[in-house]
């Protein structure tokens, strides 16, 4: 284990170009997918928490079910859709970072929407009652609920980001772990495990955790400011 820690710091200090490229791809995929999932999922969660319409509870149940969507299943479905013979094969997205981002969006958006809905549902009745009492424009209500949820939205975003940066099943299938193209930290860790290079794999895992720690720390500072 100590040798893995030593290896991790040696790798960071070495400034290895391949490693830097893998870290950059990992960042690109995790940030792009988690931010998109936040932009899609948070409004959806807020709307589900504030709107009343028939079939709402069914939608919420479906959403919560998709929070547990197995990444490998999502990966296989996307592979079938985007591979050469699939209906979207002409887009030539298979084995690309873009499709890895799409896969992560599919996996994370329900998580972001479900967690947002869960929190916003608790705050929405007070916001609705106050807004109605003041005869505010009803379109302001979702914005007010979102504003009341901003602290939690950062935590929810972090949950999505952590899922994106640590996920391996879907990105392996749709990305193919191609060096200098779609290789990310988790797929390279899995590759090193398969080739028996455990120390190197754990060292990469430690680097992944350090990246995650840095992002969490930055988000924590933003949350402190919002308190």
């Amino acid at each position: 284990m100590f040798s893995a820690i030593e290896e991790a710091f040696r790798l960071i200090a070495s400034g290895d170009a391949t490693l830097n490229e893998i870290i950059a791809t990992t960042f690109k995929m995790a940030f792009a997918s988690s931010l998109t999932a936040l932009l899609l999922g948070a409004p959806l969660g807020v709307l589900l928490a504030t709107a009343r319409f028939p079939g709402k509870s069914i939608i919420v149940h479906i959403l919560r079910t998709f929070m547990g969507l197995p990444p490998v299943v999502a990966g296989i479905v996307l592979y079938m859709l985007f591979s050469g013979t699939g209906p979207f094969g002409s887009l030539k997205l298979i084995y690309s970072v873009e499709l890895m981002i799409i896969a992560q969006i599919v996996l994370i958006t329900p998580i972001v929407a479900g967690l947002t809905e869960s929190y916003a549902s608790a705050i929405a009745p007070s916001v609705l009652e106050t807004s109605k009492g003041l005869r505010l424009n009803p379109f302001k209500v979702p914005l007010l609920v979102a504003n009341e949820s901003k602290f939690q939205l950062i935590s929810i975003y972090l949950t999505g980001f952590s899922r994106a940066i640590a996920e391996v099943g879907a990105v392996q299938i749709v990305g193919g772990n191609i060096l200098r193209k779609t290789r990310v930290m988790t797929t390279v860790i899995a590759l090193n495990y398969r080739t028996g290079q455990f120390t190197y794999a754990i060292a990469l895992g430690i680097i992944l955790l350090l990246i995650s720690f840095a992002v969490n720390f930055a988000a924590g500072m933003i949350q402190e400011k919002l308190k």
Binding site: E129, L134, L136, E148
Partner: protein, 220 residues
């Protein structure tokens, strides 16, 4: 005229409000009194359109500009000034500082409203409600968390506002003295029903339940 007919509200199989007929004159001042669970808050919520009745009709003239402050005042997590501005019509923004001052909140105007005490939050809720011109005001225990000085000052401000706007006031309160000061007519609710109403029921109650209630709250 604000009219209620055959109104019923049922929660979990229990009828919490059952009013055959109730009328409020425009420009009138009404105080709803009654024990916890008597239906005061439910009645106000139905009048405010917060919750729908299970049965019956509520007729509120369209010209009335309604404003309702719930029992548990909620402050948005933004400054007091922004909270008040949220409910203030664009052309009346000059009123914001004035009403914040009248509610004794000037020194806190830039403070986050969700960090206020219960009494301060109630003062903010009233400032936010009354920064706009309203002529149908529904208040649910508006001074319950305030100390005596702020409570009296708020009542005075409410009196002035209601006179100035020729507004209809319906206030739910546990305070018999507040009901007497703000309400020209008192409505006593018990287990969801209106048992007695009138200008002098605090001094001359006829119903047994009203007498019991007033005795408990120290009026008789």
């Amino acid at each position: 005229m604000i009219e209620i007919e055959n109104l019923k509200k049922i929660y979990a199989g229990r009828t919490v409000l059952d009013i055959e007929s109730l009328k409020f004159e425009e420009g009138g001042r009404y105080a709803l009194i009654g024990a916890n669970g008597s239906g005061k808050s439910t009645l106000l919520k139905i009048l405010a359109g917060i919750i729908p009745p299970d049965e019956g009709k509520v007729n509120i003239p369209k010209n009335l500009k309604l404003g309702y402050a719930p029992q548990k005042a909620f402050a948005f997590s933004m400054s007091i000034k922004k909270n008040v501005a949220l409910a203030c019509p664009k052309e009346q923004k000059n009123r914001i500082a004035d009403i914040i001052s009248k509610m004794g909140l000037t020194h806190l105007a830039k403070k986050r409203a969700d960090k206020l005490s219960g009494g301060e939050t109630q003062r903010l809720a009233l400032a936010r409600l009354l920064v706009a011109d309203r002529n149908f005001i529904l208040l649910d225990e508006p001074t319950a968390s305030m100390d005596i000085n702020y409570s009296l000052a708020t009542e005075e401000f409410l009196n002035d506002y209601i006179n100035e706007h020729a507004a209809t006031l319906i206030i739910a309160t546990h305070s018999i003295v507040q009901a007497a000061r703000l309400g020209k007519e008192i409505i006593f609710l018990h287990e969801g029903k209106v048992l007695e109403r009138g200008a002098d029921i605090l001094d001359n109650p006829q119903n047994e339940e009203t007498i019991k209630f007033l005795e408990y709250y120290g009026k008789k």
